[in-house]
């Protein structure tokens, strides 16, 4: 199971999409990810949002800084393996006190078949905290919307940098 093939009852990507609309998020920067596939498709179909595919995750930190500079709200979607790529670029967020909302699907923590995902998956939260990004977590489908909403309020009303980790138990371990 991944975020593209969840049942209606556990359609947490739809809860995220609803929150992004409610918070008037305009720029959605992402590195393609199976866990976010359903959400990414919804974003591409939404005229009020601009989907911005990236070649690497740190690009999104810079793009969203530019968005905030110009008065638009943005979000960064990525997988846990991309968080380490962002560390130096997060100096932009920290030094300039830009808001940040990042939604991260976790790999390497629950039923992971690929050991290459474990090193970054086990240090994702620590990597964010290194750069003073607040970290929140959702492991149950029913908690996702509320957690994203709380993080969005911190970012867009409080100007904070916040990441929400979406647990691999929620997203579903990738199978081959």
């Amino acid at each position: 199971m991944d975020g593209d093939r969840v049942t209606e009852a556990t359609a947490w990507p739809d809860a995220i999409f609803a929150e992004l609309r409610r918070w008037q998020v305009r720029q959605v920067a992402y590195v393609p990810d199976g866990g976010h596939a359903r959400l990414i498709r919804a974003v591409h179909a939404e005229p009020a949002m601009r989907a911005i595919p990236l070649t690497t995750e740190e690009e999104g930190i810079a793009v969203l800084a530019g968005a905030a500079l110009g008065g638009q709200r943005g979000v960064l979607l990525m997988q846990s393996s991309g968080v380490g790529n962002c560390v130096n670029m997060l100096s932009l967020v920290k030094t300039c006190r830009f808001p940040l909302l990042a939604l991260v699907t976790m790999r390497g923590e629950w039923g992971e078949f690929n050991p290459w995902q474990v090193p970054m998956g086990s240090t994702t939260e620590a990597a964010f905290r290194l750069m003073d990004v607040e970290v929140r977590r959702a492991d149950q489908a029913g908690d996702v919307g509320e957690t994203v909403s709380a993080a969005a309020r911190m970012a867009f009303e409080g100007g904070s940098a916040v990441a929400v980790l979406l647990g691999q138990r929620l997203v579903g371990a990738k199978v081959f």
């Binding site: 720029q27 595919p53 690497t56 690009e59 810079a62 800084a65 500079l69 638009q72 932009l92 006190r97």
Partner: protein
Amino acid sequence: MLDRRDVVARLLRDRGEMLVVTGLGAATYDVAAAGDDPRNFYLWGAMGGAALVGLGLALAQPDRPVVVVTGDGEQLMGLGAFATIALQAPANLTVVVLDNGLYGETGGQKSHTSGGTDLAAVARGCGIAQADRIKDEAGVEALAATIATRSAGPRVAVVEVDPAEAPRVLPSRDGAYTRGRFQAALGLAA
């Protein structure tokens, strides 16, 4: 050879509504030397990010020209930016790469552009059709004449400049301050 300070001063002379983002190092000093302005956002770090800050800004402010001024070393750290910009195709974004072929901040080591990497060709290969090399004053004048206007798509101008180091002109390093005054200049709540 073109003098980097002359090039930047010329490009920003009739800036109108132009919003400017600078890449760390000499490009930041060049833009500061042309005259501080609240609509300048100076990077002192985040290497590889200047063009992408410009992208997010250009998408958020589609009615204003956005100009990124950076160097070859800074852009080399973020080559993927050209592909990301090409997909979005903002008609109000121009990335000016001042190419001196070296890393001026760190001892003048040769950059990859000294060894054959052509950043304009990289940009074209990523899908930015309007990507040119500028080697003389006529080229600078042609760019200056259109830089504040909308175009058919994003533009990249790689300007070959004299590697001589210009005196440092240091703008504020307080990123929260330069961010806040930039947003205030646009009438946005910081």
